[in-house]
Symmetry: C2
Subunit: 248 residues, 2 copies
């Protein structure tokens, strides 16, 4: 039995997220179904973590075990065209897509101005109003570091009960793009909807609707109901999952 590490890109628009759900088509379930067709064996396809309904991935990582190698073109031939296996590589048996991950990087695309470009309409969040760039940078900086992210986590966070809501964000920065801004967030762990909740808060601050000091108050309050609502799913991309050198 060999363990394989997979990178997967997907347009999440049409799916109920990554994780197998009873009444929804998900990326994990379609990949598992494809593996079953290819190998004849029920195979678990374990991702680095969930992505929500509508969230995209440039390089989600998953692992699976198989007696025989799986051909990438055959795998993609079964999957719908909005889910693509990018790489399949043999990896040591102690690799685990979720537990071996040391950090993850997400990007959130904000499109500003009169017109939402039709070619990125499924891949960015559009707003007519502008953002104060200086406030945006200052607000991003507030999220860097180790904090209790309870106010920025929806309730069903994986492992939140066990591990608490303290997480470390190593990068949180906004970069101007042709259309607006991209916000990049890297952290050693994320709670449920944490990136979208951070971005929702950044938008409120950078549009002058919330004072920047509110971020500190929200960290202290540990109360999701006091914080701004999450930014829409379609702007969010899981861009990279980092692992120790020996697994890459």
């Amino acid at each position: 039995m060999q363990r394989y590490k997979c990178k997967i890109a997907y347009d999440g628009s049409e799916y109920g997220g990554w994780q197998v759900q009873p009444n929804s088509m998900t990326i994990q379930s379609l990949c598992q179904d494809a593996l079953y067709r290819l190998t004849g064996v029920k195979t678990h396809f374990t991702g680095s973590g969930r992505t929500d309904s509508g969230v995209h991935a440039l390089a989600q990582v998953a692992h699976f075990d198989s007696e025989n190698p799986v051909n990438i073109r055959a795998f993609n031939g079964i999957l719908p065209k909005d889910i693509r296996i990018i790489t399949i590589d043999p990896v040591s048996r102690d690799f685990h897509a979720r537990y071996s991950a040391t950090s993850k990087t997400y990007r959130y695309h904000i499109s500003l101005g009169e017109v939402h470009d039709p070619f990125t309409r499924h891949y960015s969040h559009h707003m007519f109003y502008s953002l104060d760039e200086q406030l945006l940078h200052k607000a991003c900086a507030k999220f860097i570091g180790t904090h209790d992210f309870t106010s920025f986590a929806n309730s069903s966070s994986e492992g939140a009960a066990a591990k608490g809501a303290v997480r470390t964000v190593t990068t949180c920065k906004a970069s101007p793009t042709d259309f607006g801004y991209t916000i990049e967030v890297t952290g050693t762990g994320f709670l449920y909807k944490m990136v979208r909740n951070i971005v929702g808060c950044l938008i409120k601050i950078a549009t002058g609707k919330l004072p920047i000091d509110r971020i500190d108050e929200l960290f202290d309050a540990k109360d999701r109901t006091l914080a701004p609502s999450a930014a829409p799913a379609k702007g969010l991309f899981l861009c990279n999952v980092q692992y120790p050198e020996r697994f890459s």
Copy 2:
């Protein structure tokens, strides 16, 4: 009565092309319907030319006449999100989106390799096999100049009967991209499916399936049935329509 010049971007994936058709949803018909709702007057929305079913535009140009200015946000509010009015500007009465155009620029996106990126799957033509870059450049150069494009035009070409099939291509070049190649074609006029037929021929040559001298033979033969089939619509973008200085 004021004439207005409009720029329009659209994702053509879901439409039967630009031009009003009896049994198909088209970009022109949706824009005309929106103008009727906004102005209360049946208004003709005249484009620079047709684009086929599935072809996209970054900046199609059209004109219309109206007693009152049309608000761009209201216009976009009625249109589906895959059609966006980018600009509406007053223009002199002698401007005509089609007859005033001096040239047009198209780009065709080719994606190469094992995986077709899911985020550009509707906006590029994917091939597993590679292209010979030197042959591609040489073949592009063959199309530059004034030629009889009969072999590269499908039969229902607008005005072909009246004007013949002689057209002038001023630019035909291939540029490498992250995913493959983009082929840019600028010309003073185009026949029906001419760009897609040129690209279809370029692909045959750059994959070694057709000798490069066949291009000259096809110009001489003036017979569409001898030339390779058209490249798929989804890779093609109408990128720009050029007009004399006084109209821009």
